[in-house]
């Protein structure tokens, strides 16, 4: 079965306001060109899920007013410092935080992956992460011998959308993600998965067993769009490096709302070339 091939703008237009959107961290494969399209289309009330943390793409979406809720183990720009629009939004109370810890996000996605309602996880008891997560519960290990064995139960986390990037895909919608297998988990767990790829290659990825071992089959993929340098200004592992000058410039501008607006106008709203692609 052939995959639906869309332009980046068409792909973004299929993600409605209010969607729960799972995104990978900066060191995986981020679909920044699609994120810019979401911003251009002025999406609202998105619920971002960091798998397990978020970076530049979340800071941009938050700054552009697209986000209502952030569910993540962290929002970090690593060596570039604190994420300025995220920090400002938390301080002003304009977004709702659902702080987590990395393995809780992975585990809750695995529950969705298996189609089960919840999953237990060690740790967390006595933390303020747990205290602030009314959707998580502490129960007793039903297999404990004699003594009580309290353990945290996490409800299955089922994003409406997983939005990811990848080095290559094919016309059947098969997508190679290499060692970034959490992107496979995201596709398994989410209701829909949208992918941008550096290149749509000839042939069928699944016919090459080495590629197949690290590929998401097309059955999970709702649509695919080709986006050369689609992670820019973030890099991709094994591909291109981050655009350090650009990211540094972003962080400087994004320290203020006015500076961020300037960035939006220059690099996102007025990026006609990208919008026309």
């Amino acid at each position: 079965m052939l995959a639906r091939q869309l332009t980046i703008e068409e792909l973004a237009s299929e993600i409605p306001d209010g969607s729960k959107v799972a995104l990978p961290p900066d060191y995986a494969y981020c679909a920044l060109s699609a994120v810019r399209a979401l911003i251009r289309q002025q999406k609202r009330d998105l619920h971002l899920v960091g798998v397990p943390s978020l970076g530049f793409q979340a800071d941009m979406l938050i700054g552009a007013g697209c986000v209502a809720t952030v569910e993540t183990a962290a929002v970090t720009l690593s060596e570039y410092g604190l994420a300025p629009r995220f920090t400002a939004a938390v301080k002003s109370g304009s977004i709702t935080m659902m702080d987590a810890t990395c393995p809780a996000i992975h585990a809750a996605l695995q529950a969705s992956e298996k189609g089960i309602p919840f999953i237990p996880l060690r740790g967390l008891i006595g933390s303020d992460i747990l205290k602030n997560r009314k959707d998580w519960k502490v129960g007793n290990n039903p297999f404990a011998d004699e003594k009580d064995d309290p353990i945290v139960f996490l409800p299955a986390l089922k994003p409406d959308v997983a939005l990811i990037h990848a080095p290559i895909g094919d016309k059947f919608g098969n997508v190679w993600v290499g060692v970034r297998r959490e992107q496979m988990l995201m596709a398994h767990a989410a209701k829909t998965t949208y992918v941008t790829v550096e290149e749509i290659v000839e042939g069928n990825i699944m016919e090459d067993l080495q590629l197949k071992a690290a590929a998401i089959p097309g059955i999970y993929i709702n649509a695919i769009a080709e986006a050369k340098n689609g992670a820019w200004p973030v890099g991709i592992p094994g591909g291109y490096d981050s655009d350090h000058q650009h990211l540094k410039g972003y962080v400087e501008l994004a320290q203020t709302a006015e500076g961020f607006d300037k960035y939006l106008n220059e690099h996102i709203y007025n990026s006609k070339a990208e919008a026309a692609e």
């Binding site: 961290p25 060191y27 995986a28 798998v51 397990p52 943390s53 993540t72 183990a73 962290a74 929002v75 970090t76 690593s78 060596e79 604190l82 994420a83 995220f86 920090t87 938390v90 301080k91 109370g93 702080d99 987590a100 810890t101 990395c102 393995p103 809780a104 992975h106 585990a107 695995q110 996880l121 060690r122 740790g123 967390l124 008891i125 006595g126 933390s127 303020d128 992460i129 747990l130 602030n132 003594k147 009580d148 064995d149 309290p150 353990i151 060692v179 970034r180 297998r181 959490e182 992107q183 496979m184 988990l185």
Partner: protein, 244 residues
Amino acid sequence: MSTVLLEEILINAISKNLDGLGHIAVGASSPIPGAAALLARARSNGSMRVSILGSEDNNFFSDGGKEIFDIAGQGRMDAFFLSGAQIDGKANVNLVAVGDYNHPKARFPGSFGSGYLYFVVPRVILFRLEHTPRTLVKEVDFISAPGFSDDDVYRPGGPYKLITDRCLFRVNKQKKCFELESVHPGHTVNEILEQTGFEFLLPDNEVPETETPDEATLKVIRGEVAREISEIYPSFASRVFGIK
């Protein structure tokens, strides 16, 4: 002997707490713990594994972001490092916010894996290179991960040491608090008392000075460790070791 840097004293002191272990993992933004793990591995005669987040040369994980946590949950990770915007006298770690959680005065990236790894990794070494009453506080504003748990909570892991730019504390598990182990060269116990926001135990005998690495150790730190750490932390390796 050439001048020994604080970073080298810290790398050496941390590494002494890792000898004999099988697998050390190092998280993000941790050049000194990373170098300490590589130093411990260098003298382990090939019996130690080190995995460093963000590294391509020293990261063997192949099953996605969850694997490092799964491996820790199974007991296959012996030591890990945590820092915090605030650390308190009960070894609670705060990576989230200062002030009220819903209207914070300062907001940091978030808890990352701390809320899990602190419970399951036997030897968690805390490090905070700003040792002031602002960072080492009486009580953290947000507990990303608690230092100690009630007896009924599954807790094979927890805090082992706390190292700062002034001193090294050990953890007293019975009394659930820190105890001063050694003071870095150039620093005093009185200064530690003044600059620490929480109460801690003092040993019965005089507090020793943190050991300065010997020539042979310095050679390894400035040689293979410096080269390896520059792959992940080029600006740190350039500043401390002059590696370009």
